[in-house]
C-alpha cells in the first residue's frame, strides 16, 4: 500500500512534513509499510482483529442490554515519537504530576496556595470532586497521585499541550501493552531496523509503586486490585493488570473491615490486605463515608484508611485537581510549588464563572469546545464547529444556569497520523495519553495510549464515542544496534 496519494490537508501530521516528505524518524517505518502489498496489509489488519477478539480484549457497551462486547478498533500503523521529543514530554509530565501532588496535599492540609491568593478558594471548595472527608489525611510519603493518565494533544503548531490530567482512576494502559503484543505477533517486520523502547515493564513498575505504599514496610505486603466487577467497561484492564502483577482481583463483597483492618474472604478464612489499587470512584468506595447506596464498596474502608491500616491508590480526594476549572490554574501551581514555568503548556481555557470569559464564550460558541467541569469520557461536551445551532443554544442555557460548571477552549486542529481506511491511508486525528507512576520516584512509561478518532474529520477520540487506538513508539537515543528490542 502506497502513501503517494496521502494528503495531510494542512494538518500537522505525525509522519509527514508540510511538503509531503516523511519526517526523519518515520522514514524507515514508511518504507516497510510501502513494501507490502495492499492484500498483505489488509490480511494483517483482519488477523489483528481476530486475535483481539479471541484474546477477549473487549469492552462492554453501556446501555446495551444484550451485553454486547466490542473490540477497541486497532490501527496497524504505529504512531512514532522521536527520542528528543519524548524527553521533553517526560520532563514536562514529571514536573506537572509533582506539582499536582503538592497541590492536593496542600488543599487537604494548610491550603497555603489559597491563602496566598494564587487560586481563588471558592473555585477549589466548590469543585464537585473536592472531598471534605479527606481533610487532614496523610497518605504514605505524601503521595496522592500514584497513577496518572495525562491527555496530551498536538496542535497545528506542532507543540504538545496538556488537555486533561485524569488523576482519579485513569484507564487504558492495558491497551498500550496489548497493542504492542498484537503488533509484534501480527506484523513483526515493521519493527525491523528501529529501536522501539519497550513498554512491558509497566506491570512490575506498578507493583513496585503499590508495594512502596504499604503501611507496614517490614513485611511483604499483600496488594489487591479492587474492581467494580465484570460489567464495568474497564473490567478487561482490571483483570489484565491483576494477572500481570500476580495480585488478587477483588470485588467489594470479597473485602470486610474488622477491628480497623481490611480483610479478604478466602477459602481458609479471612486474610489481611495491606494495599488496595482501587479502580472504583471515590463515591462508591465506602458507603459509610461516601454514597450510602453504593453496593460496590467496602463499609468501613475509609476509617481503616484514615488510621493508616491500609493504603489506597489513588488516594481518595485527589480528583479535586481533575476539575476542569482547577486545571486552568495548573501552570500557576507549577510556578508556585516548583518555582519553574510549565514545560508542557495548557490549552488556553476560558472559565465561564468569570464574567468576561463567559461573555466571550457565549458569543463564540460555534468556534469553541465547551466542557463540563466534572465530566470525562467525552460526555457533557460541545464541539462548536461540529454542532447545530440548537445544540449551541442548549449549551448557552446550561452555561448561564451554572457558570462554575463550564469551561471553553478553542477547537484545536489535533495532529493526524496515517490510518488504514478501506484500501488506502487517510489522516485521522489523535491524542496521546502517557501513564505516570508516582511511588518512591516518578516514572513515565515510554509512549502511552494513542487514541484515534476513526470517523473522518472527527476530533473525539474516546472509545465510548467510536475512537480506536494505535501502538505508540518512542524511539531510543543512540546507535540502534546496542539497543535491545523487546
Amino acid at each position: 500500500m502506497q502513501f503517494s496519494s496521502y494528503d495531510t490537508q494542512g494538518f500537522f501530521d505525525e509522519m509527514f512534513e508540510e511538503n509531503g516528505k516523511p519526517r526523519p524518524h518515520a522514514g524507515l517505518l514508511l518504507e516497510t509499510v510501502e513494501s507490502l502489498s495492499e492484500g498483505h496489509l489488509l490480511r494483517y489488519k483482519h488477523a489483528a482483529e481476530r486475535l483481539l477478539l479471541q484474546m477477549g480484549i473487549t469492552f462492554n457497551v453501556y446501555g446495551d442490554t444484550a451485553g454486547t462486547e466490542r473490540i477497541f478498533p486497532f490501527d496497524l500503523i504505529p504512531r512514532i515519537i522521536a527520542a528528543d521529543e519524548w524527553d521533553h514530554i517526560e520532563r514536562g509530565l514529571k514536573q506537572r504530576v509533582h506539582a499536582l501532588n503538592c497541590f492536593i496535599d496542600d488543599i487537604y492540609h494548610d491550603r497555603k496556595i489559597l491563602k496566598n491568593g494564587v487560586i481563588p478558594s471558592e473555585v477549589v471548595l466548590s469543585a464537585a470532586s473536592y472531598r471534605k472527608q479527606c481533610h487532614g489525611l496523610n497518605p504514605p510519603r505524601g503521595v496522592w497521585c500514584h497513577v496518572t493518565g495525562t491527555d496530551l494533544v498536538r496542535g497545528g503548531d506542532g507543540r504538545y499541550y496538556v488537555l486533561e490530567d485524569n488523576l482519579r482512576v485513569p484507564s487504558g494502559v492495558s491497551y498500550v501493552l496489548e497493542n504492542r503484543e498484537v503488533l509484534k505477533r501480527i506484523f513483526p517486520a515493521v519493527f525491523e531496523g528501529l529501536s522501539v523502547r519497550p513498554v512491558a515493564e509497566y506491570p512490575s513498575r506498578l507493583l513496585e509503586t503499590l508495594e512502596s505504599m504499604a503501611p507496614n514496610p517490614s513485611s511483604s505486603p499483600r496488594v489487591v486490585l479492587l474492581t467494580p466487577g465484570i460489567y464495568n467497561s474497564a473490567y478487561f484492564e482490571h483483570s489484565f493488570l491483576a494477572q500481570q502483577m500476580g495480585v488478587q482481583l477483588v470485588e467489594g463483597r470479597d473485602l470486610a473491615v474488622d477491628g480497623g483492618d481490611v480483610f479478604m474472604r478466602t477459602t481458609k478464612g479471612m486474610e489481611r490486605v495491606d494495599v488496595i489499587y482501587r479502580r472504583i470512584d471515590d463515591d462508591f468506595l465506602d458507603p459509610e463515608a461516601f454514597r450510602a447506596d453504593s453496593l460496590l464498596g467496602v463499609p468501613g474502608l475509609m476509617s481503616a484508611y484514615r488510621q493508616g491500616r491500609v493504603a489506597l491508590a489513588n488516594a481518595p480526594g485527589n480528583g479535586v485537581a481533575d476539575d476542569k476549572v482547577i486545571y486552568a490554574y495548573v501552570p500557576d501551581m507549577i510556578r508556585y510549588y516548583e518555582g519553574e514555568d510549565a514545560i508542557l503548556p495548557n490549552v488556553p481555557t476560558y472559565l465561564c464563572w468569570r464574567d468576561d470569559d463567559r461573555a466571550y464564550v457565549l458569543e463564540h460558541l460555534a468556534e469553541l469546545v465547551v466542557k463540563a467541569a466534572n465530566e470525562s469520557g467525552g460526555y457533557g461536551m460541545l464541539v462548536g464547529p461540529h454542532s447545530t445551532r440548537a445544540q449551541c443554544d442548549e449549551f448557552a442555557l446550561k452555561i448561564q444556569a451554572h457558570p462554575r460548571n463550564y469551561i471553553a477552549q478553542p477547537t484545536l486542529a489535533l495532529s493526524r497520523v496515517p490510518t488504514i481506511v478501506d484500501d488506502h491511508f487517510e489522516g485521522r486525528h489523535v491524542d496521546l495519553r502517557p501513564y505516570i507512576l508516582y511511588g518512591k520516584d516518578i516514572y513515565v512509561v515510554p509512549g502511552g495510549l494513542t487514541r484515534v478518532a476513526m470517523k473522518k474529520g472527527s476530533l473525539v477520540v474516546n472509545s465510548s464515542q467510536g475512537g480506536g487506538s494505535k501502538d505508540t513508539w518512542v524511539l531510543s537515543h543512540g546507535p540502534m544496534a546496542q539497543e535491545q528490542r523487546q
Binding site: Q54, L249, D258, T266, T267
Partner: protein, 334 residues
C-alpha cells in the same frame, strides 16, 4: 523481608467461580456427547423403530421444560433445546456462556491460554447458533468435544496445580460422575424397548452407543471383550482406571478435596470430606451384582442425591465465608 514461598490464599468467590467453570465446561462436553452418539445410534436402528430423542432430554433432567416449550422430541427440536436454547440453562450454549462468564471473573487466576480457549469455544458456538445446523451436526459436536478436551489439556499444562486448580478439578470430576450415572440410568430404563430385545443385535448396538458416548467403547473392549449389560454397568460405575467411570471420578474429586484442605486421605475435617470420603470407600469396595439385584435405578437416584449433598457441602465449607473472622482482632475462632 519475605524469604520463602508463601501459599497464595484463594478468595471464596474465586473458588466458587472456578469450580463452576469446571462443572459447566464438563456439562457442555457431555451434552455434545449425548447428541452426537444418539444421532449416530438412530442411523443404525431399523425403519419403524421410531426416533429416540426423548431419552437424551431426560438425561439432562430437563424433561418438563422441554415438553412445555417444544412438545415433540424430534432431532431438530432436541438439538435446538440442548444445543442452543438460551432459556435452557443446561444447553451447550448456556453452559459455555456460563463457563466463560465465570472464567472472565477470574481471568487473573486461570492462565491466559485457558481463558482464550473458553473464549474461542464461545465464539464457535455463538457463530454456529446463528446458522442452520443440518449436515454440520456431527462435526459441530466433535468440535465442541475437542475444544473441551483441549481446555482440559491446557488447564493441566499451563496452570499451577494449586488450590484453584483443585477446585476446577473437583467441579469437573463431580460433574462427570453425575453425567455418567445419568447416561447409564437412561439407557437402562428408557432406551430399552422391551425385555425381548435384550441380547439382540439392537441391544448390543445400544450398549455400544452408551460406551461410545463416554468414549469408553475401546477401553471396555480391552477389559471385557464381549458386550454385556452387567459388565458395561460395572465398567462405567466401578472401574478404577477409566477416567469417565464414576468411581474413578469420585476418587479424583476426593484427591483434589484433600489437596485443598491439607487433611490426609482417609481422614476428614469438614462435612464435604466426610461425605465424599464415605462415597469413595463405598465405591472402592462395591460389587456390581448386589447393586443390580437391589435395583440400578434406585442406586443411581441415591448416588445423584448424595452428589448433590456433596455439592451443597462444598458451598457451605468453602464458598459461603460468613463474616465470622478466623484471624485478626475479633477473637472469634473459626
Amino acid at each position: 523481608m519475605n524469604t520463602g514461598y508463601r501459599t497464595r490464599p484463594l478468595l471464596s468467590r474465586v473458588a466458587e467461580a472456578v469450580y463452576w467453570m469446571g462443572r459447566y465446561m464438563e456439562r457442555a462436553e457431555n451434552v455434545a456427547r449425548f447428541i452426537d452418539v444418539n444421532q449416530n445410534l438412530m442411523l443404525d436402528l431399523p425403519r419403524g423403530f421410531g426416533e429416540q430423542w426423548q431419552p437424551i432430554v431426560d438425561t439432562t433432567g430437563d424433561r418438563a421444560a422441554f415438553l412445555e416449550r417444544y412438545g415433540e422430541a424430534t432431532l431438530a427440536n432436541v438439538v435446538e433445546f440442548l444445543g442452543f436454547d438460551v432459556r435452557n440453562p443446561n444447553s451447550i450454549y448456556s453452559c459455555v456462556t456460563a463457563a466463560r462468564e465465570s472464567a472472565r471473573s477470574v481471568r487473573e487466576t486461570i492462565s491466559s491460554e485457558m481463558w482464550e480457549q473458553i473464549n474461542s469455544l464461545y465464539l464457535l458456538i455463538a457463530t454456529q447458533s446463528r446458522k442452520p445446523l443440518s449436515e454440520g451436526l456431527p462435526q459441530f459436536c466433535r468440535d465442541v468435544r475437542m475444544a473441551c478436551h483441549l481446555f482440559q489439556g491446557i488447564q493441566h499444562s499451563t496452570m499451577s496445580h494449586n488450590e484453584a486448580w483443585h477446585f476446577i478439578r473437583l467441579g469437573t470430576s463431580l460433574e462427570r460422575a453425575d453425567k455418567t450415572t445419568r447416561i447409564l440410568d437412561v439407557k437402562y430404563f428408557i432406551l430399552l424397548p422391551s425385555v425381548s430385545d435384550v441380547g439382540t443385535p439392537y441391544d448390543d448396538i445400544q450398549w455400544g452407543a452408551v460406551l461410545k458416548s463416554v468414549s469408553g467403547f475401546e477401553m471396555y473392549r480391552k477389559c471385557f471383550g464381549r458386550i454385556s449389560p452387567d459388565r458395561v454397568v460395572e465398567f462405567l460405575l466401578l472401574d478404577g482406571e477409566f477416567p469417565r467411570a464414576v468411581r474413578y471420578c469420585i476418587g479424583l474429586a476426593d484427591n483434589s478435596l484433600h489437596a485443598i484442605t491439607g487433611t490426609r486421605l482417609g481422614a476428614f475435617s469438614c462435612p464435604t470430606e466426610q461425605r465424599l470420603g464415605l462415597l469413595r470407600s463405598e465405591l472402592d469396595y462395591a460389587q456390581v451384582e448386589p447393586i443390580l439385584q437391589a435395583g440400578l435405578h434406585e442406586f443411581f437416584d441415591g448416588l445423584q442425591a448424595r452428589m448433590n449433598t456433596i455439592d451443597e457441602c462444598v458451598r457451605g465449607d468453602f464458598f459461603a465465608q460468613k463474616v465470622a473472622f478466623q484471624v485478626g482482632t475479633s477473637g472469634q475462632s473459626g
